[in-house]
């Protein structure tokens, strides 16, 4: 079987191109022995070419890989003052729901590709309020429960929550457990439901705490950032913020960033290269660090709701 196939295949391969070619070639087809030899010859050369191709990339592969991200010159870049950027962004967000659109900030760093990344969590002066629902597991009538509720937790309790979760109702995005309730939680056997969602309280992730109130407060108003591919991206404000509020928020972000960079070891150098402000529906505006330019609109105009 294999033999028969191997004879047919080269023949068909030869026939195919010859149809397209000129007449003298067609005449050659009648000489069968010659033809078969020719086919064999082309077959080997194709094989040879295949092996050759395999070898070639090996030689070229020794290209030096880059250890830093590509840097660009900002000399010719168009940069905006904060007020100008906000005027544009508010125009882009016209008619949107002001609670759903957010200002975003992108900070490009000069850093190594394989170095340590910078990450932290802190509170903005004007928190970007997200409707983060937090579940706190602690005895419902304890002092901790009252603290958690005051700090903005949406679900507080023990057995009620366990029953709810067992029924499959998980309507929260974070889960915190008080130290004293940990045993009860472990007994309830919720790991199977909460574990895959990453909601199971655990001392390692810092979700089993003594002081529930402050943890919840930090979670509600806090924001987290992390460097990815040399850029830090984070939400810095709601669309309804005034330029002054945005300025305070951006300043706070930059100060924490600088502090965190300074805290890293001396061998690693990270520098801030570019700061870009954008929003949910707008392009990014590179900021030049100034609050307002000589011909920007008065800040009062940008203060009222969209």
């Amino acid at each position: 079987m294999a033999h028969a196939k191997s004879f047919i295949a080269p023949l068909s391969r030869c026939n195919f191109p010859s149809i397209a070619t000129s007449k003298p070639e067609f005449a050659r087809l009648t000489l069968l022995p010659y033809q078969s030899i020719r086919c064999a010859a082309t077959g080997t050369s194709a094989n040879a070419a295949k092996y050759k191709r395999k070898e070639q990339p090996g030689f070229q592969k020794k290209k030096k890989s880059r250890s830093t991200f590509i840097q660009y010159d900002l000399k010719n870049a168009e940069q905006f003052s904060l007020v100008d950027a906000m005027q544009y962004i508010r125009a882009f967000e016209v008619g949107r729901n002001p609670t759903s659109s957010k200002y975003e900030m992108h900070v490009k760093l000069r850093t190594l590709k394989n170095g340590p990344v910078i990450r932290n969590r802190f509170r903005l002066p004007h928190p970007v309020k997200t409707d983060l629902r937090i579940c706190v597991i602690c005895p419902p009538d304890s002092k901790a429960a009252a603290e958690a509720k005051a700090a903005g937790a949406s679900l507080v309790g023990e057995d009620e929550i366990f029953n709810q979760i067992k029924e499959g109702i998980v309507d929260f995005e974070r889960c915190i457990c008080h130290m004293d309730s940990l045993q009860k939680l472990n007994k309830a056997g919720l790991g199977r439901i909460l574990g895959p969602k990453g909601l199971m309280p655990n001392a390692k992730t810092g979700t089993v705490v003594k002081d529930v109130g402050t943890t919840v407060r930090n979670m509600v108003g806090g924001s987290e950032y992390r460097e990815r591919l040399g850029v830090i991206r984070m939400a810095v404000g709601q669309l309804g913020f005034t330029p002054e509020e945005m300025q305070r928020n951006i300043k706070a972000v930059m100060e924490t960033l600088k502090k965190d960079i300074a805290q890293m070891s001396d061998r690693i150098s990270k520098e801030i290269h570019e700061v870009v402000l954008s929003s949910t529906n707008s392009p990014g505006f590179s900021l030049n660090g100034e609050f307002r330019s000589p011909n920007s609109v008065p800040t009062k105009d940008l203060s009222n709701p969209l």
């Binding site: 125009a91 016209v94 940008l302």
Partner: protein, 194 residues
């Protein structure tokens, strides 16, 4: 982060928000503009949406202090209206109109403050006509593009044409290369069988 050249090109094209249809300065009496239309274009809501996407940014850019609200409902037979609210020569009242836009369609059907001064029906009306009616109703002052802006606009247009042509060429080349590679692969696959 997006490539710097791409970003800068986009920012250069921001010119469209500064000039063009809709670049106008509304008189001081206008305190608020609100629109109401369907989320889908069926039933003549197309012009309203186009107006929102293309001209409202220009209006908002030139009049940052005027709140503009949009509520979209899910009813194709529902209203498609543009409301213009005016307050007689007291610009401070714009701030107390605490507008919290909700997708709730009743928000603008029964405005909390007062009756709108002008109401424009948007059903089956193209966006350019909406703008014309808005200008007529408010007597807004239209900003004409200057010579420098016009020439820059021409530049951008030219560049866009060039890039479209280049894109076509590159695409042709790519498709050809791919087809050749595919043919080669097929041929080699048969050789492998042999």
């Amino acid at each position: 982060m997006v490539n710097i050249i791409k970003r800068m090109r986009k920012l250069r094209e921001l010119l469209w928000i500064r000039v063009g249809p809709g670049a106008l300065i509304l008189p001081k009496e206008v305190s608020k503009i609100s629109m109401e239309f369907n989320t889908k274009i069926n039933g003549g809501h197309r012009g309203a949406r186009k107006f929102w996407r293309e001209m409202l940014p220009r209006i908002k850019y030139r009049n940052p202090a005027i709140p503009i609200q949009i509520s979209r409902h899910n009813d194709a037979n529902g209203p498609a209206k543009l409301y213009i609210y005016t307050s007689p020569s007291s610009p401070s009242s714009t701030t107390d109109q605490n507008s919290t836009t909700t997708t709730n369609s009743t928000a603008t059907q029964t405005p909390e403050t007062a009756k709108p001064t002008h109401t424009i029906d948007l059903r089956m009306v193209p966006e350019s006509q909406i703008l014309a009616e808005l200008i007529k109703a408010t007597k807004a002052e239209v900003i004409e593009a200057g010579e420098a802006e016009l020439s820059e606009m021409r530049d951008i247009e030219e560049q866009k044409m060039r890039s479209a042509k280049d894109r076509e060429e590159v695409r042709e080349k790519l498709v050809k290369e791919r087809r050749e590679a595919e043919l080669l692969r097929l041929a080699r696959g048969e050789a492998g069988l042999a």
